[in-house]
Symmetry: C2
Subunit: 643 residues, 2 copies
């Protein structure tokens, strides 16, 4: 059969494909990741590519203008090469660039040791530990078994009630003990209630013991290399979750994983990502894979299910049942993660289908569970999650915010990566615009924090009313109609990276308002369920990647966060990653998540709450239909009347 050659720019990667395959399929085969939300159904319009040479046949679609089609722009999943072709993947459609967060996160989390160790809330007791044992050789008066000799010395050092050794290590012990002349290094890993002798080596290698903490995000996978001896974070790496090729959000991935084979494909995606990150960490820090003995992963319930290859179908179906919320500690190799051959993999426990280990880790890091005062935690992402509580009780709920905070479903939306507008301020009404762009180059589009700023500024200067509709007389020339649809030009094409205008439409603003309304209403509903109101909340912890770059003042102005004194707000950054890191360094921290936080978090299912929909409708205003809920915003200026 004749094959067609497809070459991708700028990578210059080529692949031979059979006729009848799409450009998207060719890209997958070539290892060129292309953005996609819908998984190839042609309904998200995210997989734009440019045909640079050769002929193609494309299905008709609603996402491209005639001018774009003439310029060669096409949707990769809807386009079939008719012969050899050269395809450019523009930056906006690329997946896999390293998000800028890694380095900043590393700096922020380097002192994780402040949570663990002497004088800190959690005792230093890493989940895997290397002990250098100088054993007395056996004599006729002391001829206990080789295994018992090791156990006895370990138990002299600390209390280990249940110890186990697998058959393969047991078979090595006699030889290694004698080869090492009774001087050996033993690695002991914690598995549930059991301490497992995972490895025995001759001589002293006790100073080389590392763990990897991983935040398995739906969008980004973040990994830190932790020196389990010194408690230091010695390396940080991040990359996009390759599962994105099979669907941008959790639901589309669950839909994709409808056979065991596809489920395992998604497992392999994220396992490969983790292996890539670990490989990069070892290169960065000159560490051997052999010396990495433990991986601790944290993520939402779907992500941890996919990591372990567990059935996800029931997460999506009412009544939303996960396969397991407390996953067993297994050998990392069982899912394909490459560290020491006997190394272990733990997963931060989840609460329910939509309250994952990431939130449990957030709670640990925030310390809500240790305080007398009532605090609130808000983790904003595609799925918004709220926790309220103190040391005696914890309640949580989740609400679907949609992908708007991450740039999804927004005309010029994008993730917080190079070229994203993350900050906007208008001057002189809306006559001047100041943009902060990630990487400092020309802008490509709007990420979540830029979108939030934009909506807040549009509202502040009166360009939109409190329902989110444009006020033409305030917008002036920046408002225009394209094919009957009103759009506000944020940055003209002449000043952007791709020559296309960065715009925002009323539909975009509507998506954003629904997202912020869902978060606010969820927080309010959770307070109602616990008999409290916002004034009872002494601290608000904001978690999640979006949260890091959030302008709290603007978030209050548009009604995303409650109207509390700014001093009560605190960012905890990537709590998911940090919680995993604390668990690696402190068995006590892991136990607190497993035995105190996760099992005791009461989950309120908002979809069965009859009041929720009413309250939600009231929140679809800027800041809210009931302005009394936002007194500081009301004081700032009178509400702009709805047109």
């Amino acid at each position: 059969m004749k094959t067609l050659s497809v070459t991708f720019l700028p990578d210059e990667k080529s692949v031979e494909i059979a006729p009848g395959k799409t450009v998207m399929e060719a890209a997958t085969a070539a290892g060129v990741p292309i953005n996609s939300i819908c998984g190839g159904d042609g309904v998200c319009g995210k997989c734009r590519v440019i045909v640079r040479s050769g002929k193609v046949t494309a299905e008709p679609n609603e996402f491209l203008t005639r001018r774009e089609i003439q310029r060669g722009v096409a949707l990769a999943c809807q386009t079939y090469p008719d012969g050899d072709v050269v395809i450019e993947v523009p930056m906006e459609s690329r997946v896999g660039a390293v998000p800028r967060l890694a380095a900043e996160d590393a700096a922020r989390f380097a002192p994780v040791s402040q949570w663990v160790g002497e004088g800190a809330p959690y005792a230093y007791e890493p989940l895997s530990r290397k002990d250098y044992l100088q054993l007395s050789p056996p004599t006729l008066d002391d001829n206990i078994s080789d295994q018992e000799r090791i156990y006895r010395e370990l138990r002299r050092r600390r209390d280990i009630p249940i110890m186990q050794t697998g058959l393969s290590i047991l078979r090595q012990i006699p030889t290694v003990l004698r080869a090492g002349k009774w001087r050996v290094t033993v690695t002991v890993g914690q598995r549930g209630g059991t301490a497992e002798v995972m490895q025995i080596e001759p001589g002293d290698s006790s100073s080389r013991n590392y763990g990897v903490a991983v935040d398995v995000g739906t969008t980004t996978v973040d990994a830190h290399l932790v020196d389990l001896v010194s408690s230091e974070t010695v390396g940080a790496q991040a990359k996009y979750n390759s599962q994105i090729s099979y669907g941008e959000d959790i639901i589309s991935r669950i839909i994709y994983a409808n056979t065991d084979e596809k489920l395992q494909t998604l497992r392999e995606c994220v396992v490969n990502d983790i292996n890539d990150l670990i490989a990069a960490l070892t290169v960065e820090t000159k560490t051997r894979l052999h010396d990495i003995s433990y991986v601790m992963c944290s993520g939402n319930t779907t992500m941890t299910h996919l990591l372990l290859g567990l059935e996800v179908a029931n997460i999506r179906r009412e009544p939303y049942v996960p396969s397991a919320t407390f996953a067993p500690v297994i050998r990392a190799a069982e899912v394909g993660i490459k560290i020491n051959a006997r190394g272990l993999l733990g997963v931060v426990p989840s609460v329910s289908s939509y309250v994952g280990g990431d939130l449990v880790a957030d709670v640990l890091v925030s310390g809500i569970n240790d305080s007398e005062e009532v605090s609130m935690l808000v983790d904003m992402g595609t799925n918004g999650e709220i926790v309220i509580g103190n040391k005696d009780w914890l309640a949580c709920c989740s609400a679907s915010a949609g992908p708007a905070f991450e740039g999804g479903g927004i005309t010029c939306g994008m993730r917080a990566t190079l070229g994203a507008i993350e900050h906007i301020a208008f001057g002189e009404g809306c006559r001047t615009t100041e943009c902060g762009v990630i990487g400092g180059a020309k802008p490509l589009g709007l990420c979540g924090s830029g979108l939030l700023d934009l909506v807040a500024e549009l509202h502040r200067v009166g360009c939109i009313d409190r329902t989110g509709r444009f006020v033409p007389e305030a917008c002036g020339a920046r408002l225009r109609r394209d094919a009957g649809l009103a759009e506000f030009v944020v940055v003209p094409g002449s000043d952007t990276a791709l020559g296309r205008d960065v715009v925002i439409t009323e539909a975009d603003i509507g998506s954003f308002i629904r997202a912020k309304g869902a978060i606010y209403t969820a927080a309010e509903a959770l307070l109602r369920h616990t008999g409290l109101d916002f004034s009872d909340v002494r601290h608000v912890y904001v978690a999640g990647a979006f949260g890091n770059y959030l302008n709290v003042g603007q978030a209050i102005r548009i009604g995303l966060l409650p109207d509390l004194p700014l001093a009560r707000f605190q960012f905890i950054g990537n709590g998911s990653l940090q919680g995993a890191e604390m668990a690696l360094l402190s068995r006590q921290a892991f136990d607190v998540m497993e035995k105190r936080i996760a099992p005791n978090m009461t989950h309120f299912e908002l979809s069965v709450d009859p009041q929720f929909m009413n309250e939600y409708t009231g929140s679809l205003f800027l800041p809210h239909t009931n302005i009394e809920k936002f007194p500081s915003v009301a004081r700032e200026r009178p509400p702009i009347p709805v047109r």
Copy 2:
């Protein structure tokens, strides 16, 4: 290359071999097991075969008389076929015939439930258990994870602190729960301190759950199939340990296993034996392998090491260090045992290199560890083991008795199988002889209990003096000289199965006296170490296959057992097998072995006891150099003077 055909009778199995191979090698290739103690070095003389047709070349040896050689008798390991040959393997040289003990043992142990269950010393709590769960389907108000739903129901039924589920079962749970419409059967197995969900099946299969108890003896492997639901022993099978081909006793097997490959060969031997027994049990009882969820093995320390493939070399070298005395519970498949694919394998813990799990099981079965009174336990085999103690303390020692009790190293010795003389009584001096032969046929040789009877009778009628030397005037015509060596004809060739005289020599009697002396002296030494003497011992439990058919009166007369009232003696039969069976049915029984018996048994190493050798020398008389130790024997009749 030309090959030679070797046919074995009575099996009529044939095999083609290359020239230069021995008859023994041909037999191994043909799957015809032939007895061997020395492993093929031509120094034990046990592998006698008869050349029925064809020519052979044989190395000269000291074991065969000229008449035997003329009759075609040859040693299989020293004989090379020169062409096609037909070889008969006489019964005495066969390995693999089912020992007669299996059926009797089954009858004896059928009521093992009397040790386990209500009103019995140990609570019924089998190491694996099947629960039929009728779960309520999840609702929005009760949408815990599938795994937690199972755990919750199990914990409603009983206290299970630590529960774990492996990844492969976790992956099945969601599908099986829904396929079974929330009616499922869950198998939970005990592994150390953890209860493992080993299996989940739709519907109710809770009535079909079996365990296999195995006594891994150096000579015989005995297995019982136990219904873990009803506590009944439903089947019994036994066969010789195939490792015998590589050496008859522990030491020669340890010497053989000097590379990992050879070690694993020995593991495969016994694993195949266990698999054969399990297969026979499933046929006998119409049970499916799938329904066997647990195997519990008990045996001496070397046997359990070989079963697990653990290094045995240091067991033999001073200071006699085993690899492990507390083996982990593993998946049976890890060593190759074929039951349910996820089924578990436990091993009764040992105390030291020469005090094995068989003795620990003996103690459990005897109940010494539960009594206020001081008791003694004697397990007689190639290695004799003694325990003394009560509920507060336990002391033990072991002494090498040599293979005499099992017929090894004795001119006409054989194991207690078909054709073995197990009982002898003389009449009118030694003029008449009454023999009890296993199977009732013509005798082939002497097993341990027959040998004991013979020595006792020879001594009683004055045919031997108290040093074991023949008294010719008492023996009369039955004593003759063959090649200058005196031998006493027990049964003339005309009355035996193979036409050869069954005889006993002074060397045989010497071997036996050394064996009985070692046991007695070990018991005496252990008492000395604990500050007691025989009069303090309220009960003597006799264990081991040899023990079952022992005449206690005769054993006292020759000085093997101490001179105590006969009422104090009690046989416990195959305590090793029975202890394994109790463990299968009662976690508490297993815990008692692991936490109370094995770790608390003080082991005295007799080889470093300076008094032992003196005392041993004194025991090399019938019954003892110090007749005051055997007052009832002294009362019976005055000692026969040493010549």
